[in-house]
């Protein structure tokens, strides 16, 4: 069976979603050909195919026109697992982990430092490439709770796919466990693991 998907002009993750739907409709082995207009979509589709064990090849048909062909076999893996990620400018992420260990940025004046930290977190929302994870511990834990001036920005970052994690021990220490306003609670093992596996760790 053969299906063609036209994803020209579609932004990520639409080409991947359309292609997955076409593969479902095959309901068995077959070929799905997807037309897209940018190389990032080609990369996303190729990664999805490899993850699912499909055969995949792609070619450039012309300026801003690419064809990705997937061969779905009998033994290909089920399609449910895995999220669609979009490594493109404007919604992209890298392997940077940002560590916030204080309410303030720098030393000298806490009032200025608090304004600087708020500014820093706002600036993250304006980056083309967002960090993968933000870790909050010690005084930094006060930024992820209800009433924090940075909460709105952190919720925006979380909505873009940035993982927001706050040290549970720290929330408990400050009596803020019930006030967590964004992201999840984590422990020192996770913090150590995420910092260790990061491409780079940024500590403002």
């Amino acid at each position: 069976m053969f299906k063609q998907v036209n994803a020209m002009g579609d932004a990520c993750p639409t080409p991947v979603i359309k292609t997955k739907n076409a593969i479902k409709e095959l309901n068995g082995p077959g070929t799905v050909e997807t037309l897209v207009d940018n190389p990032i979509s080609v990369q996303n589709l190729t990664r999805m195919a490899i993850n699912h064990g499909y055969g995949v090849k792609s070619e450039k048909l012309g300026d801003n026109q690419f064809r990705v062909v997937m061969e779905i076999g009998d033994d290909s893996k089920a399609q449910e697992e895995g999220e669609v990620t979009c490594p493109v400018p404007g919604g992209s992420q890298n392997d940077t982990v940002v560590v916030i260990s204080s309410e303030t940025m720098g030393t000298g004046s806490d009032e200025l430092g608090a304004a600087l930290m708020k500014s820093y977190i706002f600036s993250l929302t304006q980056l083309e490439t967002l960090p993968r994870t933000m870790l909050f511990y010690n005084g930094g834990a006060k930024l992820t709770v209800q009433g924090s001036a940075a909460l709105e920005d952190l919720m925006s970052l979380e909505a873009q796919g940035v993982e927001i994690l706050t040290c549970g021990t720290c929330l408990n220490h400050f009596g803020l466990t019930e006030q967590l306003g964004v992201g999840g609670v984590t422990n020192m093992y996770d913090i150590a693991e995420r910092m260790g596996s990061a491409g780079r760790v940024v500590r403002p």
Binding site: E111, A115, K118, S119, S123, T125
Partner: protein
């Protein structure tokens, strides 16, 4: 979906003025927030007030009556 939207940016000559604006607006429940001055514009100090474009007239009138000092007013497209 991330998209850029216009925002009103009020700049200040000094950091003290910018932080004074934050205190005043918080006390008066006025709209907006402190952000670092966007790269597109230059100002005396690195902090600016960001607020919805439609709040311009009423906000400027209020802070003028309160005797606050600001430098300039811009509209800049920012990620919303």
């Amino acid at each position: 979906m991330r998209e850029k939207k216009p925002a009103l940016i009020i700049t200040f000559s000094t950091t003290t003025d910018a932080m004074g604006m934050e205190k005043f607006c918080a006390a008066q429940h006025l709209p907006g927030r402190l952000i670092p001055v966007p790269r597109e514009i230059s100002a005396g100090c690195g902090l600016a007030w960001k607020t919805p474009v439609e709040t311009k007239d009423s906000l400027l009138q209020t802070i003028e009556e309160a005797g606050l000092h600001w430098q300039d007013v811009h509209v800049v497209e920012l990620w919303a």
